[in-house]
């Protein structure tokens, strides 16, 4: 009994109920639509903020210079004499007894009795896996007159800390600036140089202060900003998703009367160029696909007029008597309709590419994904042979609010105009593989765009 009474529907006039609640439902829908743009603005703002933050970090963050690696390859067997510096928690300490070993590799030089190097003085020395690292700020190097050629090339690049405790008086030195030297190189240097060939080195290390490890090496990119605008030819596919006759008819109608025109593009991209030639681009893109709904057709149908003159009777007295009643008439309607429809999209592109440098000229190719965050429609589309659907009011019921993503492949050619400014032409094709139309409508609308953009790129 429970189930039956629960599922028992009462008879009612649906249209009456709907008419009563429709204004309030419209109000609710309007509130819903207001919420949607707020979400999109927040998302766009967040993406922009993160992009700007990352750009700022790279532009104004710590200046990380890649170390220069010495080319000389020295015998591996010598590495055993390299002195490790012991780590204590997160800091690195130079131990008293280890320092002589280091100097002994260069030459068995007397070592002062002080224990370790003040942080400020040895900030270029650190440990990576039991090897020494000397980094940045060259101080003084061995003379070029050293006997061994290996010593000559190596010692010129060895970094010796600017330590007041080092007695440099015995070494004829010259000033030279070298960015840094790799741990491996140092270890090799120390072991390949015969002790007799080395100049005498006396230095002392004071205090016992932590060494700070150097920042990790990052291949630093250069950045550019690019403003692009372009145009593409449009190839549209529109098919029904099922075998429903209604969907087939709608697809056929739309294919008959609608004609894709062109797509316009406008993009703002931030590019990160790596020394290796690879680059990554991201930003914001706007695309508008235009179509023409052109209906020049004639429709002939039958209509029933409930109060028409069925026939006229001339009676015996000669009077004309009309017989009034339902009349079936043939109606011929000629449509001349022309509407320009547009599908506007905002995308967040992410391209990865490779650039070849030929001096003033550069060429590149790129592949990327454009994440769509907004699709807005405008215009009219045919619904039946005689009626249309207004996309401005009913667009949300037919088209999706986002088209997930599209794929793009492009080839770019750029020419430097000034030191920082270049002109770039970018032929490309873009494929919208995802359906623009909602699943429930029963149609599938996709696009393939082929065109190009022209842009100005400015190095930052």
């Amino acid at each position: 009994m429970n189930k039956e009474i629960k599922n028992h529907p009462s008879a009612l006039d649906i249209d009456e109920i709907w008419a009563a609640i429709e204004p309030q439902v419209d109000e609710l829908n309007a509130q819903r639509k207001k919420r949607k743009p707020v979400f999109i603005y927040c998302l766009s703002g967040l993406v922009l903020l993160v992009g700007l933050g990352l750009t700022g970090l790279f532009l104004f963050g710590e200046n990380l210079q890649p170390p220069e690696i010495l080319n000389e390859v020295l015998p591996e067997s010598t590495t055993q004499n390299v002195v490790p510096i012991i780590t204590t928690e997160n800091n690195l300490l130079v131990k008293k007894e280890e320092v002589p070993s280091f100097s002994a590799d260069l030459k068995t030089a007397p070592v002062a009795t002080t224990t370790s190097v003040p942080k400020a003085e040895i900030e270029e020395i650190t440990v990576l896996k039991s090897t020494l690292v000397a980094k940045d700020i060259i101080k003084k190097t061995a003379p070029s007159s050293a006997n061994s050629t290996q010593l000559k090339s190596a010692i010129n690049k060895v970094v010796i800390p600017n330590n007041p405790g080092i007695n440099n008086s015995t070494i004829p030195v010259k000033e030279e600036k070298i960015a840094s030297v790799s741990p491996l190189t140092i270890s090799k240097i120390g072991l390949t140089v015969p002790a007799s060939d080395l100049p005498e080195l006396n230095f002392s290390i004071k205090n016992n202060k932590p060494l700070v490890p150097p920042p990790l090496y990052i291949e630093r990119p250069t950045f550019s900003i690019e403003f692009q605008t372009g145009i593409s030819a449009v190839n549209r596919t529109l098919n029904p998703t099922g075998n429903s006759p209604n969907n087939l008819e709608t697809a056929s109608l739309r294919s008959t009367f609608e004609e894709p025109l062109e797509a316009l593009h406008a993009n703002i991209l931030v590019n990160a160029h790596f020394p290796s030639g690879f680059f990554v681009s991201s930003g914001v893109g706007f695309t508008q696909i235009s179509e023409l709904y052109n209906n020049n057709s004639t429709v002939i149908d039958s209509i029933i007029d409930p109060m028409g003159i069925q026939k006229l009777i001339i009676n015996i007295t000669g009077d004309t008597v009309p017989v009034i009643g339902p009349v079936v008439s043939t109606r011929t309607t000629t449509f001349i309709k022309k509407y320009y429809n547009s599908y506007r999209m905002i995308d967040i592109p992410l391209f990865v590419g490779y650039q070849y440098d030929f001096g003033d000229w550069k060429t590149d190719f790129s592949l990327g994904v454009l994440s769509n965050i907004l699709l807005a429609t405008e215009g009219r589309i045919p619904d039946t042979p005689t009626t249309d659907l207004d996309l401005n009011t009913n667009g949300d019921e037919i088209y999706r609010s986002r088209v997930d993503y599209s794929l793009q492949f492009g080839i770019g050619v750029s020419k430097s105009l000034t030191d920082r400014l270049s002109l770039r032409v970018n032929p490309m094709f873009r494929y919208y593989s995802r359906n623009f139309i909602k699943e429930s409508v029963g149609l599938e609308q996709q696009y393939l765009l082929f065109g190009g953009t022209v842009g100005l790129r400015m190095d930052l």
Partner: protein, 187 residues
């Protein structure tokens, strides 16, 4: 034809044609719910409209784990009870005199038409009707009914007993009317 899931999704996106479809599919059943809680058809329709508005306003919060129809039914019941509370009827009926006539065998309900049964339920005093519906149709416990209606559990039990008795009496009256009518028709 849209599946229930598609219909819900579309309604969550505010698609009007789907909202109309939802009303077309479920309004009849929801009206039956409302009719079981109030005695007149006009009030039941008002409750139905209020329920539909609440359904559309809160459809974003619907968790697809439970029955959608059950969720809508709950909203309608709440609307009906809110209406009854507002009308201060729930408290008045507890004092209505009730005859001590015996109730009817529950199996009798199975022989009745649903419209007939709803008609009888509508004749119950408001408070008894609410308790009867919540217990016998919706399947709530007396503790839950007590919480929903703001009464004690014992009141809920006694009102249910009385509701059944009244319903039995109404049914007997209905039967006798039917018998007389059929005799008249035969003669």
């Amino acid at each position: 034809m849209l599946t229930e899931i598609q219909l819900i999704k579309n309604c969550q996106q505010g698609i009007k044609s789907s909202q109309y479809e939802l009303v077309r599919r479920y309004a009849g059943k929801l009206l039956s719910v409302a009719r079981r809680y109030v005695s007149d058809q006009t009030t039941a329709k008002d409750i139905l409209q209020e329920s539909l508005i609440r359904i559309f306003a809160n459809i974003d919060n619907y968790q697809s784990t439970g029955s959608f129809e059950g969720w809508m039914r709950t909203i309608t019941v709440r609307c009906a009870l809110a209406y009854l509370r507002k009308a201060h009827r729930a408290h008045e009926v507890a004092m209505n005199p009730v005859s001590s006539d015996p109730g009817i065998d529950p199996s009798v309900y199975n022989t009745m038409g649903m419209e007939e049964l709803i008609g009888l339920i509508q004749q119950l005093p408001d408070g008894f009707r609410s308790v009867f519906n919540l217990r016998e149709i919706e399947g709530h416990s007396h503790a839950e009914i007590a919480e929903i209606l703001g009464i004690t559990e014992s009141t809920s039990r006694s009102q249910l007993t009385r509701a059944k008795k009244i319903l039995g009496k109404l049914w007997l009256e209905q039967q006798s009317i039917n018998t007389v009518t059929s005799q008249k028709a035969r003669s």
